[in-house]
């Protein structure tokens, strides 16, 4: 039964993909692509109405019939409203958040309609985002998550936007095939003392002191991207602002993480090692560069540098099959 349902689901998915094609960029949901079916609650409602109709006819009671008809008409209006709630909504891809392999990739979408659309649910496969309301003016952002297994790219093949507004008697839905990719960063290797990150050459440090013994210099306001371990939590806990400790000596000459300097092993473990070094360096606030055979990322710091480096690692020497990424329906 379950298998049968899965197969049917797959066939329907393929059919809808054929029917509507790939949706690149912003999609406006048209009447043609909105499907609607009664929910279980809707079927129960219909059964209730049928029983009421029989009762009203049996007793020859016009007011009972009138009540039945009123409820039926309200259900019918609800069906129209439900369908209409999706028509005219525009769905625009609004970026992705690359995960580390094994975590979930996040695809964000901006929904707008020019009129209020309550209770839209954006779903992909098993993941259902919270219901959201598209405001009359402006947009609402929804994100769906797709599980990942390995570094590379993961694709969001199909997005389902549904709504059972207003009474939950019907569910209207549409399928969108954005065919969006999201990078999947390699999962950093576990910290390992035997594989310390490369250091800048001795003596290059301005005052020659060993790492980690920088002098505390000053506090400055928190900026997005500052590593959490530099935040002065004590000051924050005392009721102050979020401030970040600055250290003299933090301004080292950049370290270069070189493919050649990773301990041996297969490609994946070396990539994971480099990822570990990059993540740690970013947390410390270091400046660093990445050198891969045939590719390099110039020195830099901050979250942008980290992402640039991890992106290089994500696709580095990827087997062609994996480059396409795991599909997610």
């Amino acid at each position: 039964m379950r298998l049968w349902r899965q197969r049917l689901g797959a066939r329907i998915a393929a059919w809808s993909r054929r029917r509507h094609g790939a949706d690149h960029g912003t999609v406006t949901i048209t009447r043609r692509r909105v499907y609607i079916l009664p929910t279980r609650l809707g079927l129960a409602y219909a059964a209730m109405l049928f029983a009421m109709l029989l009762g009203g006819l049996n007793y020859g009671n016009n007011l009972a019939l009138a009540l039945t008809f009123l409820l039926a008409a309200a259900g019918w209006v609800a069906m129209h409203e439900c369908h209409r709630n999706l028509v005219g909504v525009t769905v625009a891809p609004a970026g992705t958040r690359p995960p580390f392999a094994g975590d979930q990739a996040e695809f964000a979408f901006n929904l707008a309609a020019g009129s209020a659309r309550p209770d839209l649910v954006v779903a992909s496969g098993e993941d259902r985002a919270r219901a959201l309301t598209v405001p009359a003016r402006g947009t609402a952002t929804a994100s769906v998550r797709v599980p990942t297994a390995r570094r590379g790219r993961v694709q969001l093949a199909r997005l389902r936007i549904e709504s059972s507004f207003p009474l939950g008697l019907f569910t209207a839905w549409t399928w969108i095939h954005p065919e969006l990719d999201c990078l999947v960063y390699p999962r950093p290797a576990p910290r390992d003392r035997r594989a310390p990150p490369p250091q800048t050459e001795p003596g290059v440090a301005r005052d020659g002191r060993a790492r980690g013994e920088e002098d505390f210099a000053a506090l400055r306001g928190f900026r997005p991207g500052d590593p959490p371990r530099r935040i002065a939590w004590k000051a924050y806990a005392r009721g102050g602002e979020l401030v970040v400790k600055q250290f003299v000596g933090a301004a080292h000459a950049p370290v270069t993480f070189d493919w050649a300097s990773t301990p041996g092993g297969d490609v994946e473990s070396r990539v994971a090692r480099l990822a570990r070094w990059i993540v740690d360096a970013e947390e410390r606030g270091d400046r660093y560069a990445l050198l891969l055979p045939g590719e390099r990322v110039p020195p830099g710091a901050g979250i942008a540098q980290r992402n640039a480096c991890l992106a290089k690692l994500a696709t580095f020497r990827l087997p062609a099959a994996a480059a396409g990424g795991g599909r997610a329906a």
Partner: protein
């Protein structure tokens, strides 16, 4: 599982359910109402305090016990009374396990059913208003229930319910008018639920009544084609009672005789239509002697089943919803004038042996001094008039020989006492006599142009058979209390007691108000409650779809649905049209469009500030203006307290920027 539903949601469902239950309180057994109320209170407290809901075994046990208790109380689970009680019990028990939206939905559906049942009990305007209120609340509760978990914005459930019901109203009307009604029933309605609320019983034992309750409720209304007969001729016959056992008058089984009596119509025939309130009985009132029904109304009259030999009428089944029928009557017809069949004569002379000796003696005395039956009647009535007989609604109870006691000791009673005593006197004197019960009188409603007859006009009188004249009506009560007949209604002064409706007789404007309201209610009953296949056929005729039976109805329904769908679709499309923003949005859109034409379209992911930052970099000449423009836009759109001055400045900036961005486009 944690309680997934909030207190507000629960309270909304429970409140709607409680209101749905309210009309049933009068007929539900107290233990049912008590159980449901307790369950509601407990469930709300449990939600507030976070108590655990009862375990499954307990709930199932309670459900079984509840069902058995209803079964024990009503001896059935079928029918309206038992069904309503069962629904109420199930609602109470369902409350004990209500957490998921599905449980709420079950409760709400039960609520709808309770509303339906309330209408099956009563079809008044007030009842409909109540049920509509309940429906609105239940629909709002349903709108609250279904919301997906974590739904962010509040949706006003009441507004939503109003909207759905209001938009559905036209279609509901189409269905009401064109969904075919059936004749007959899918399943039988148990006899137990035929409510005997009417004033007319099928038997009469005046000695056992200590207090006659007179209800002021309408019994029926009558529309006459011509003028209504004068009030002293408004005798509406319902039942003829011929069996007397010394205490109780009953209808005989031989009264089911369908032999047509010989009828000589005299005087003009009266054509009229009666709209009968539900009585729970099959008997139908008719004015005096029913001689037939008008040809043109034969269709409506078809539902009339039986006209008995004593010229009383009955329906095929008990009248549980308003019923309308047309008749032709004569107030001067002679019934069986030539011959009373011997078996019937025996029956109409029969008296139980050994009862009421003094009455028999009196009858013999009166008989001896009278030349004929007419004179005998006059003497009896004379006796009622001159001896200290009085009319009262709270007569003393009578013992073993009730007629003797009434005639010689208590001498106080209402119409039934007089009718019973008169019939016994007549029979003892050898004149065939019977008791007729029905209604006497009726007040003319000038707003609706009909005669309204109330339950309080219930009356009992006699018919005696005279050779050559047939059955002749005699109303002995009129001898004692002529106002009872000529005034149409009892007055307080007359009875010395508080009769219903005396306030209306004292204050004319109150009576007018009541007559007006009754006309409204009558129109309601006639047009809406009484909407039947005949009216439906007339409506189809008016639409030019007549004569095609169900095909005409199907066509009208389909057309109604198609039109409704088109109108609704257009309405929703108009309502959900993309709103063109205000002047701020328009100005923003103009500048963005200008930038886009210059090769700098806004990316989908770009917020206004990011976009303008990019624009500043690309068009350094306008950078300052663009930066201000972006800041103002953000302030106007996202800062709730933005000043009007900011708006003016923003619009001015837009006017400056649009032309300035053009040369920039040229340079590119």
């Amino acid at each position: 599982m944690r309680l997934a539903v909030g207190l507000a949601r629960l309270a909304a469902t429970i409140a709607a359910l409680a209101l749905a239950l309210a009309p049933h309180l009068s007929h539900l057994p107290p233990w049912v109402s008590g159980t449901v109320a307790a369950a509601m209170a407990w469930r709300l407290a449990a939600e507030r305090r976070g108590w655990a809901l009862p375990p499954r075994a307990l709930r199932y046990g309670a459900a079984l016990a509840g069902t058995l208790a209803v079964l024990a109380g009503y001896r059935t689970l079928n029918g309206l009374d038992a069904g309503t009680a069962l629904l109420a019990v199930m609602a109470g028990l369902k409350l004990l396990e209500t957490r998921a939206p599905r449980d709420h939905a079950v409760l709400i559906f039960i609520g709808y059913f309770l509303g339906l049942a309330a209408l099956l009990y009563e079809q008044s305007l007030a009842r409909l208003a109540w049920v509509l209120l309940v429906t609105w609340l239940l629909t709002a509760a349903l709108a609250r229930v279904h919301r997906p978990s974590g739904a962010d914005a509040p949706v006003q459930p009441f507004r939503l319910a109003t909207r759905l019901l209001a938009l559905g109203l036209p279609l509901a009307l189409v269905m009401f008018l064109f969904v075919p009604r059936i004749e007959g029933r899918f399943w039988a309605i148990p006899a137990s639920e035929q409510h005997s609320s009417s004033g007319i019983d099928e038997q009469m034992s005046p000695g056992d009544v200590a207090e006659l309750g007179l209800s002021d409720d309408p019994a029926f209304r009558a529309w006459f084609d011509g003028p209504a007969p004068p009030s002293e001729l408004r005798y509406w016959r319902v039942l003829v009672l011929e069996d007397f056992d010394g205490r109780t008058w009953r209808r005989t089984m031989s009264a089911l005789d369908l032999r047509a009596p010989q009828i000589e119509a005299a005087g003009p025939a009266l054509d009229y239509r009666i709209a009968l309130e539900p009585t729970g009985r099959a008997w139908l009132p008719g004015l005096d002697t029913v001689v037939g029904w008008p040809e043109e109304l034969a269709m409506r009259a078809r539902s009339l089943q039986l006209v008995y030999m004593d010229r009383t009428l009955s329906e095929r089944r008990r009248v549980t919803s308003p019923l309308s029928y047309s008749l032709r009557s004569s107030v001067a017809a002679r019934v069986s004038p030539e011959l009373l069949p011997p078996d019937l004569e025996r029956r109409d002379l029969a008296l139980p042996a050994g009862r009421d000796p003094r009455t028999r003696a009196l009858a013999a005395t009166l008989r001896e001094g009278a030349r004929d039956a007419r004179e005998l009647v006059a003497r009896v009535l004379e006796r009622f008039r001159t001896e200290p007989f009085s009319y009262t609604l709270s007569p003393p109870r009578l013992g073993a020989d009730p007629v003797d006691e009434f005639l010689f000791r208590t001498r106080a009673g209402f119409c039934e006492h007089y009718a019973s005593a008169f019939a016994v006197l007549m029979r003892a004197a050898g004149v065939p006599a019977r008791v007729v019960i029905g209604y006497q009188g009726g007040e003319l409603n000038r707003y609706g142009g009909y005669l309204l007859v109330r339950q309080s006009s219930a009356h009992a009188w006699n018919e005696i058979w005279l050779a050559g004249e047939g059955w002749v009506r005699v109303d002995p009560t009129a001898a004692v209390a002529p106002e009872r007949v000529h005034g149409g209604r009892l007055t307080r002064e007359l009875a010395g007691e508080v009769a219903p409706g005396f306030l209306f007789e004292r204050y004319a404007w109150l009576a007018e108000l009541r007559a007006g309201w009754d006309a409204v209610r009558t129109a309601w009953t006639e047009r809406v409650v009484g909407f039947d296949p005949a009216l439906q056929a007339r409506l189809l005729d008016a639409l030019g779809l007549g004569g095609r039976g169900w095909q005409g109805l199907a066509f009208a329904l389909a057309a109604g649905f198609a039109l409704g769908a088109a109108v609704l679709t257009a309405w929703l499309a108009w309502e959900l049209r993309p709103r063109r923003g205000d002047s701020v949005d328009a100005a923003w859109a103009r500048v963005c469009a200008r930038l886009a034409r210059a090769g700098l379209p806004r990316a989908a992911h770009e917020g206004p500030l990011d976009y303008m930052r990019r624009a500043c970099a690309a068009a350094p000449a306008s950078a300052g203006l663009l930066a201000d423009f972006a800041d103002l836009y953000v302030a106007l759109r996202y800062y709730p307290g933005a000043r009007p001055a900011a708006r003016a400045r923003f619009l001015a900036l837009a006017r400056t920027l649009v032309p300035r961005l053009s040369p920039y486009a040229g340079r590119r």
